[in-house]
Symmetry: C2
Subunit: 142 residues, 2 copies
DNA sequence: CTTGACCCTGTAGCATACTACAGGGTGTAT
DNA sequence: ATACACCCTGTAGTATGCTACAGGGTCAAG
């Protein structure tokens, strides 16, 4: 157990608060670590990476529940392959949808930038169009 | 005012609750609309698009405050061009960072999928590596 | 021993983003 | 007039994700 870290060290390295680490443990996002005789937690170094992942995924819009699902996508020897495959594919689709939406915002911002350079007048609001999808609405011809 | 909508219609079309529409108005995400003599709100049709944008942007991890900032990136005739440019560029960078992070998760999931197909053993946890960045941690050689 | 940083559990509170409800008014069809 | 769906304001509550605190124990250095 050469790399065991106290909760404070984990929190510092992962960029979160100590309470957050305990909170994630309560939620099951982090496995409960072994303890010293004093009751102090001793985390494997891997925990830092895990919490960083959680942080980043949250920033991308995933709820903690969703993050837990992502983290569960490990290959375990006992998990049937077809089951993993379906779960991974679902997540992939979700991620691809998010990426497409981000691309649309990006494109619109680039157009805004171009319009700014050219001094062209903008009479529409292009940012609202960026995330328009196939839902119908606001386009009635009355 | 051919396209004026009651709050219930806006909510239905935008896919949110009536209370949410009022909430967004209180937050300033939606301009307060004109009223009938009865006090009923009459929203322009554009509001549906606006709320949809808010919804989608939230799903991508933007806070409502951040969404408000995105929505404010309209070209107004009175806004100096250099100011708009800087704001847009900041948002672009943020969006590009999020896209890169999503791409990394995507790549990892695809690798997981491939590993599943080939029946290759995975001894690491690739999902955690997906969002590793240049922060140092968990890699100490003791 | 003292000091200060760190740890523990458990409870309460804050921030964000809604969501529901009370009490009452409005609009439309029967 | 009645019934029902919808509207209003204002207040309170819920869910999520922390964040802070109380009360007390541990650790290491001076």
């Amino acid at each position: 157990m050469g790399g065991a870290l106290t909760i404070g060290e984990v929190a510092r390295r992962a960029g979160v608060a100590v309470e957050t680490v305990r909170y994630y443990e309560r939620l099951g996002l982090i496995p409960p670590p072994p303890r010293k005789a004093s009751g102090y937690r001793l985390y494997p170094e891997d925990t830092v990476r895990r919490i960083r992942f959680i942080r980043h995924a949250k920033e991308l819009g995933f709820s903690l529940r969703e993050v837990a699902e992502l983290l569960a996508l490990r290959l375990e020897p006992t998990t049937p392959c077809a089951q993993v495959k379906r779960r991974v594919q679902e997540k992939l689709q979700d991620i691809q949808r998010r990426m497409q939406a981000l691309q649309r915002i990006e494109k619109t911002l680039e157009e805004l930038l171009g319009a700014c350079r050219e001094g062209a007048p903008i009479t529409q609001c292009p940012i609202l169009e960026a995330l328009e999808d196939t839902e119908r609405g606001g386009k009635r011809h009355g």
